[in-house]
Amino acid sequence: MNFFRRNFGIKIFTLLSGVGLSLGLVLIFLRIRYELQFLTLEFVAYGIVFFVLLAYFVFWFSVSRPLREIIHEMEALLTGREYKKFFSKRIDEIGVMAHFFNEITRKLHTFAGSVSEGQNMANELEVAARIQKNILPARPSTVPGLVVSAMSRPAARVGGDSFDFIENDGKLYFYIGDATGHGVPAGLIMTMVNALVRAFVRVSSSLVTILADVNRVLKSRIEKTLFMSLVLLRFDSSSGSLSFAGAGHEHILFYRAATGQCDIIPAGGIALGMIPEIGTLVKEQVVDFAEGDMLFLYTDGITEARNSQGELYGLERLKVAISKFASQYPPQPTLTKIAADVGSFVAGVQQTDDMTLIAVQRTSASSDASQFQFSTDWRET
């Protein structure tokens, strides 16, 4: 059966042409050799013409017409008109072309579907990124005695780093947090924690209670592999005292104006979402924060930024940069200089984690709101 299906048109065409030509030659030979009068030249000529026409029709039906139909469908596909599949059981060149055409159109359909789905996802991610950006504060509450600056850069469209400044009852609560990984899952945790902290700050002034309550709600709603480190601080502008409670976050760094040194204070505690109850593991501590001092909060995207050799930027480099720049500049340019230092270290190597830096400087209590400098944009100048 395959004999007929494979190269069918060409074979029949060749067969008929061959038979017609051979028969013609045999008849001419017979007429000459045996002088057969009934075999006139016209008879032979009609016979040859008949076989040639028969061969042509066979060729037209089996090769020319299906080829033209495929080309027509291809033209329709390429010019954006409606096209249809080409059904053929043949395994000759025509069958191969039909199969090729059908495969191409099938893949185009799949690809078009993926592009459309990808576009929808990209649009949704864009919306998520915009919502998240709106969650990050445009500017902090205006608490006298503080100059605040913050910079954040997500590694993906949606990031897992978070920070906020919440004023309540004459006190400024602020935090920095870092959810597991980055991208959409981290962004969802970050959004959840942001809402929870904002809500629980209104309920209690105890940093431990706030973190324990946030953890309790969070733990019951996230996967086992997810968590968020966070450090929550409270500044009382009337007394000038600064307290903090850590939930497994990076250290707090203090630039001391009096000595020019950078002190490290471990945040302590345990990350949110690891265990159901963290109240006994989290401690609230009071820390010195003298006029001129600058405190720095950061996420591990800074200290774990890598260069092309795989070296980490690390805590030591961050300390050196803080000591160098905080002695010369107010918070915002200090952060810009540190960001530039990190950028220079990684030298263009793509980073895989979100980066956030916050600087808060204690100034005289009479400072007015015009001294607040705030930007969530990441700049390296």
């Binding site: 597991t180 086992k224 592999t225 968590f227 976050h249 302590g268 050799q309 795989g310 190597v349 895989t352």
Partner: protein, 122 residues
């Protein structure tokens, strides 16, 4: 260009102590998580012994995604009443475990064998 790797070695189940031990070597970051995270979590979810031990001696870096799977292992072990141990983390990994508070939560020892020893009396 620097390219971190992570290798997970699953040791044979210790039927004498009903212990499952495994060993991480390399750097446990997002790439590592994609490479062996599912295998490790599969091992964790199928575990039903008395000790789950993770040897970290050859692990030189871990990020939050790596910590996440250790927490999942710890959660599963405590849920079924098993003991969870981390063995010999290097200083960087230990710093991260301490910063996040996980170090105080889990058991740790200097060797796999030591995990089975009764704690010293005060």
């Amino acid at each position: 260009m620097y390219s971190p790797t992570l290798v997970l070695t699953i040791l044979p189940f210790d039927t004498a102590h009903l212990a499952q031990a495994c060993r991480f070597a390399g750097e446990f970051d997002k790439l590592g998580m994609e490479k062996v995270g599912a295998e490790f979590l599969d091992l964790v979810s199928n575990f039903s012994g008395s000790y789950f031990i993770v040897d970290l001696e050859q692990l030189h870096f871990i990020n939050s995604e790596g910590i996440g799977v250790l927490i999942a292992a710890y959660s599963h072990a405590t849920k079924i009443g098993a003991k969870f141990f981390l063995v010999r983390p290097d200083s960087h990994v230990r710093d991260i475990l301490q910063t996040l508070g996980l170090w105080d939560l889990v058991g740790h020892s200097d060797s796999i064998e030591q995990c089975f020893s009764p704690p010293l009396s005060p």
